[in-house]
Each structure stands twice: as C-alpha cells, then as structure tokens.
Subunit: 136 residues, 6 copies
Amino acid sequence: MKVTVSRKAHFNAAHRLYRNDWDFEKNEAIFGKCNNPHFHGHNYELIVSVTGNIDPETGYVIDMKVLKNIIKNEVEDAFDHKNLNIEVIEFKTLNPTAENIAVVIYNKIKPLLDNSLDLEITLYETPRNFVSYSGK
Amino acid sequence: MKVTVSRKAHFNAAHRLYRNDWDFEKNEAIFGKCNNPHFHGHNYELIVSVTGNIDPETGYVIDMKVLKNIIKNEVEDAFDHKNLNIEVIEFKTLNPTAENIAVVIYNKIKPLLDNSLDLEITLYETPRNFVSYSGK
Amino acid sequence: MKVTVSRKAHFNAAHRLYRNDWDFEKNEAIFGKCNNPHFHGHNYELIVSVTGNIDPETGYVIDMKVLKNIIKNEVEDAFDHKNLNIEVIEFKTLNPTAENIAVVIYNKIKPLLDNSLDLEITLYETPRNFVSYSGK
Amino acid sequence: MKVTVSRKAHFNAAHRLYRNDWDFEKNEAIFGKCNNPHFHGHNYELIVSVTGNIDPETGYVIDMKVLKNIIKNEVEDAFDHKNLNIEVIEFKTLNPTAENIAVVIYNKIKPLLDNSLDLEITLYETPRNFVSYSGK
Amino acid sequence: MKVTVSRKAHFNAAHRLYRNDWDFEKNEAIFGKCNNPHFHGHNYELIVSVTGNIDPETGYVIDMKVLKNIIKNEVEDAFDHKNLNIEVIEFKTLNPTAENIAVVIYNKIKPLLDNSLDLEITLYETPRNFVSYSGK
Amino acid sequence: MKVTVSRKAHFNAAHRLYRNDWDFEKNEAIFGKCNNPHFHGHNYELIVSVTGNIDPETGYVIDMKVLKNIIKNEVEDAFDHKNLNIEVIEFKTLNPTAENIAVVIYNKIKPLLDNSLDLEITLYETPRNFVSYSGK
C-alpha cells in the first residue's frame, strides 16, 4: 500500500544562465534574457514528494516534521536569498537551470531518506514553468 | 488511448492523531500538536482521478455527473462538517492521518467504478501538505 | 504617500457554532452543520494588511519581519491546532464565526502597531468563504 | 537522468457537446447542460509536459522558448476565442469533450518534438475538472 | 463594527462582444477576437461581497446559506452553460462585457438584501482579467 | 457607475535592499537576508486596476488591449529579467522595496491614462507578501 506524501516549500534566489566557455553572442543566442550578466531572479516554489508504505503504527509514510526539517536544512538554508551562481557550490560549474536545480535538490535529499522511500522533486521557477525529477 | 479525468471536491472536518494504546507522552512525542485532545481541523481538498479509455460514442472516460454524485455520496455526505475520530466509522480504530483518509476514500469509491477504470485519490490536508494513493 | 503592505499566514483549528442559551433545535435551525457538537474544522488563511506612509530611509511601511513576528505571537501560537471554543479564551462567550474571529484578530494586533498605521484583517474560512474587517 | 519540464498556457473557447446522429432527447440525457444548442464556453488552462534527458551543454530538456512557440502556433492560434465545433476542423466530426481536446492537442504537438521526448497534455476545462493524456 | 463577508461562485458561458448598429469592420476594430460571430466563452469566477454590522446574536453579517441561495437563483441558474447574448434577457441590448455583467449581477442581487447591507461584485472573466462594481 | 477593471501581469528580477550611506552592519541589521551583496530575486506578480465610468458605447472602462500594451511597455519591457538596482534607472537612488516598486509603477502608468481614471497598483513580491498603492 504505497502512498505519496508531498510537502511544499519555497525560496527566493538570483541566477544567470550562461557558459564560461561560450562567448557572449552564443550565450545570448541560447539563453536570451536569462543570460543577463547582472542576474535576474525567481520565487522558487518546491514540492518534495516521498513515496512509501504507510507505517501501520503511526499512519504516516514519513513524519512531516522530519521532512520539513530536511527541506529547511538542505534547501531553504542553502538557497534562500542567495545568488545561485556565486554562492551555491553546486552551481559553480553547473548551469542553474530549473532542471539542474531539481536534480541537485534530489541528490541532496535522497541520501537522508530511508532506503525504502522513493523521492520526486517538483520545482516551479515561475507560476507558468516547472520541472520534476524522480531519479530515473 | 487512456485518458485520466479528474474532479475536485472538498470537505471540512475535525480530527485528532493519537493511539489509544499509547500514553499521552508517547502520543505527544510522535504526533505533537496533532494530538490535541480537543481536536483541530482542516479544509480537505480532494482530487479524484479516473483513468480509462475514451468511449468513442460520448467522448467521455466517465460522465462527470456520475463521478460527482459518487464523490458526494461517498465522501462529502460522510465526512463534511464531521469529527472524523468520533463520527466516521472507518476511523474508530484507524488514525485519521491524510494517508489513511486517502486510502479509505479509495476503498469506498473503487468498487463503484467499472472494473476497467483505474483510480487515484489526491488529498490536500492543507495547501502545503498533500498525499496521493492509487491502490498499488 | 500611503501604501498598504500585506502578509499571509495560516492556522488550522476546530470549532462549533452555537449558543448556550438556545436549545439544540434553534441552534440547528440557525447554524446547521456548523452546530455539530463534536466540532468540525478549517484551514484558516489569514491576510494582515497594514497601511501607512513609506519610511523614506528604509523604503518600508513596516518591517515585514516585525509584522511576521506579531502574527506568529498573536495568532498562530494562540489559535493553531486548537479547538477555538474550548481553548481560546476570546471564544468562551463569543461564537467563533469567521466574522468574530477576524474582529478578535484585529483587536489583538492593532494595539501593537504604531498609532499612525491602519489595519485590515482578511480571513478565509474556506477557499470559497472569507471575511474582512478594518475597525470601522 | 530524465526530467519533465512543463509549460502553462491558456485559451478561451465556446463549445457544445452533442452527436448529430442522436436526437435532441438522447443528447440532452447524455450531455445535459453541455448540449445547449447556443453553446457555452470555458477558459481552458493547458499544461504541456515534455520528458527527456537534460542536455549536458545547456542544462535544458527542451528550450522553453521553442516549446512556448509550438504551443502558440498549434494551440493558442488555432483554438483561442474560437467556437470549437464550428471553427476548428478536428471537431467537425469529433465531440469536443475535454478528453478529446487533450488528445487532439497531443497529436498536434507530438510530431513537432524530437523523437526521444515524451509528451503529456493536461487540460483544465474548469478549475474543478481536468484531464490528462500521454499517448498511452 | 462593519465586516465584509464574501462568497465565491462560478458559471460557464458563451458570449460575443459587438454592436448591431456598427458594421463588422468597426466591431472588429474595437472588439477584435471578442467579436467572433460564432462566439467564444469563459469560466466566470464570481465573488459576492456583503458589508454590514455583525448580528450580535448569531455572529453573522449575513447567513452564508442565504447568500449562497441568492447567488444560485439569480446568477448560476440564469447564466450557467448559457449563451449570454442569445439566452440572457439583460444582454439582448447590452454588450456582455465583464463590466456590464458585473453591473447586471449587482442589480439582480442588491434588491434581495436587507437595505442596511452594502454589496460589491467582483467578476473574473479569465484568471488574468477581472472587474469589480459596488454601486457607486 | 464606476467600475474597476484589473489586469494581471508579471516580471522576474534580481534586487538587493541596502543604502550606500549606511555601513554593512547597519544594512544587515535593517534589511537582513535582503541585503545580500550578490543579490537575490523574485517573480513579481502585478495587478493593475483602473477605475472609471463604463463607456456606454463599448461597455468598457478601458480597452484591455490598450491597458495590456501600457503594462508591457512601461513595466515588463523595463523590469523583466533585469537587476533592478543596476539596470533600472528609478532604483539607482531608491531602495527597490516592494513599496517603492509599486509607487514607481504607479508613476509610470498614471500619466498615460485618461485623467478621469483612477489607478491602483498591487504588487506581489512573493505569494505571501504584497503591497498596494493608489496615489493617495
């Protein structure tokens, strides 16, 4: 009896999409306005979804208080009110696209969960654009 | 050609998370504020999703009016403005966590659907916490 | 140059609408399902709006961190995961309708704000029903 | 490393549910208010979800600007502010139920995507009713 | 102690914006896509807001069950799944813009309320466009 | 017969809250995380509300296509995907708090509207924090 439990969270950050090994024209052609060298930013809305069996004793798949703390430590404290390119080590050499941010968040949270649990990360970069990743 | 059709509904209810066979301290340690003996409550938002083939005659997977009535009879009339622990028979001996409520709703609706249809229940306990269950 | 700044917050609670000095039939006639003696509950979504001049030094009407703390102390800590009728002193003798809850919240927050600031409370009892009160 | 990227869009349209080869009574019995011969209408909200590998050069599954243009050309320009039954060729002989509209949108967009990409269409007919189709 | 209570409702309808006494070119120039002679449509989301004193006996400004019935009788039954231009008498000679629809709804509901109550109508034509009218 | 018509729009931007004439410690004390010298960012959601009489010929207070273009020219093209502090001239010497951004937007749009029309700007900095300004 597998149930998925999901928790929403959010963080605000600045970022820029570009590659150091491309010249400005190529970055502009591929990343357009997202290549602004002065950065732009987003309110990222995050959904962390954990799938597993219901513990028959508690009726929980995972204690939401535990999951909330993991999200706070791994995502909010690390990314909130930060410049992702400059201040978040994972994006020193990785373009902070929504896709890559979702993968990074997945890789930070997955090892902290019991092995029997599946994880999916959904990340809204804007209310109109979002991505999801489940480690497959 | 499998399509999933979803219908939203809602109900308001009081509940308390605890186990009779645990003492107050253990209930407090596990369920925290949710163990309040005077109860607290939620606006539960429900999404009922039914997957099946499109009927080539009508263009429907299932008539939404039929699905709406099933939800009204099985969920809204049974749970709305109720105390789940005291007034809903399924939770006399089952902790009314969001996970367990989703499973109970699934088990009430599934037998009323044509055998060829799959069912998924998504239940928002708050706008920030939700669960889903599809009978697997 | 008056600007209104608003902050959202939320709390979950159980309640019941009834009057001690009416018999059950009259309570049932007036309050319907909300008169359930076993209580029901809601996710209350709250918007606290403060109107005043922009401080030319900071660009703030009020520091959101200050406002967030006031809401936490006066509303969330007092109401969240509580039974409003039994556990919140203001509703011992006052029916916890959305209207009355909004007035109580207004009366708790207003004295903590600078005298030059106006206050409006908007309270969603459900996503479909809400009230607002601005002390007039 | 499969990631799903989703883009929201919308269009407003009139439609009517009925079959030419049924008499009015049968159409009324099956389609109810949706059989109004003078039409009614909706704000359709659309989510187009594309699943594939992250391009290690760009960090994109698909360039959102490309996806946005496909949606504009295939869906918005074709359906927005239109009468689906009368003005959209796919619904001359196909009932414009939400299910069928989702399949039509899928069939228009899928051939324009790289073969390695999976596609899912989610279509909200109202904020309370929605369907999804992924070509299976 | 004036409190405003609000109730959400919705209806789906087809409409067309044009004037009989203008030729097609002038209608096209002013109303653009909204002049489509085959109609288009919307999910109209409605907020009905009533302002008045709290009744000290009940704690209500107005009984929501009463307000809900007024909205059902005056708006939902009259407009839902209808073609506004053809089937709703108020729009036989009045262009069904969001502005005019809001005024019509106001004029239908206001006489049914106690004289001491103020009324405001907010009408979303789409999630991005909305109007409000309070009889001033 | 005054009606208010509102249009939603959005832009993404980076910003930093601080004053040049304060040292880092004072900026940190007042602006906290918002003083990050590497910037952070937001998805700003904007509501532009215009109040006036309904034109009896068209049924419009203002043509939404006209209002949409004003918002595009004055706000989206000027602020979207920009660093507000560095790239938007109005914030060279003005702290880009939500309050100040709302006033700047008001001052850009008001002169472009007919004198008889009132204007209100509502700006969501996050889904939880928003401000409004109507020139009073």
